[in-house]
């Protein structure tokens, strides 16, 4: 269950570090690897968010008597 603010900072940190990695890899001329790193970070964050959403929907289901 997500009732903690630390996950917000996690997502923000992942986003900033990913932007950094993307810029560095682009400067080195490795465009494909930069795209791939962004994609992997996106999937990680999506996993966190989807877990939270499924928790939320399960709670709504149990509370609203579905």
């Amino acid at each position: 269950m997500l009732t903690d603010i630390s996950v917000l900072f996690q997502i923000a940190g992942i986003g900033i570090i990913l932007a950094l990695i993307h810029t560095i890899l682009k400067q080195m001329g490795k465009e494909e690897i930069a795209q791939f790193a962004t994609l992997v970070g996106f999937i990680i964050v999506l996993y966190i968010v989807i877990n939270g959403l499924s928790d939320l929907f399960n709670q709504i289901k149990s509370v609203f008597l579905f």
């Binding site: 917000l8 923000a12 992942i14 986003g15 900033i16 966190i48 939270g52 509370v63 609203f64 579905f66």
Partner: protein
Amino acid sequence: MDILQLVIISIVASVIFIILKDINPGFAFFIIILVGIIIFSSVIQQIRLIFQVIQSLGEQASVPGLYLETILKIIGIAYIAELGASMTKDAGLNSVAKNIELAGKIFILLLAIPIITAVIEAIVNFLPTV
């Protein structure tokens, strides 16, 4: 959770959103979704308590369980539809948000049909038969 904590969480989240919006717009949207999840999951326990009180009051007043259950389901559908609509509206998909609202209204109407028919049957019973 305390209301002060929720307000502080949302202020911090908006600061993070403003920073992240220029760097990485996709991740900024995840921040919005996560704030919604955090706020609602800290409120849902209180909602459960309120519903327990409403249900016990309804049992004491011997209201049929079908009506209360329908009302609670309608509140749930309205909340979920509102959540989805506001999320998609934030992402810039206004037409999808309108469609979600339409779907929510249709499902609410579908759930309300037994109550409507009960009301109409009661009215018909009042009418004098010729």
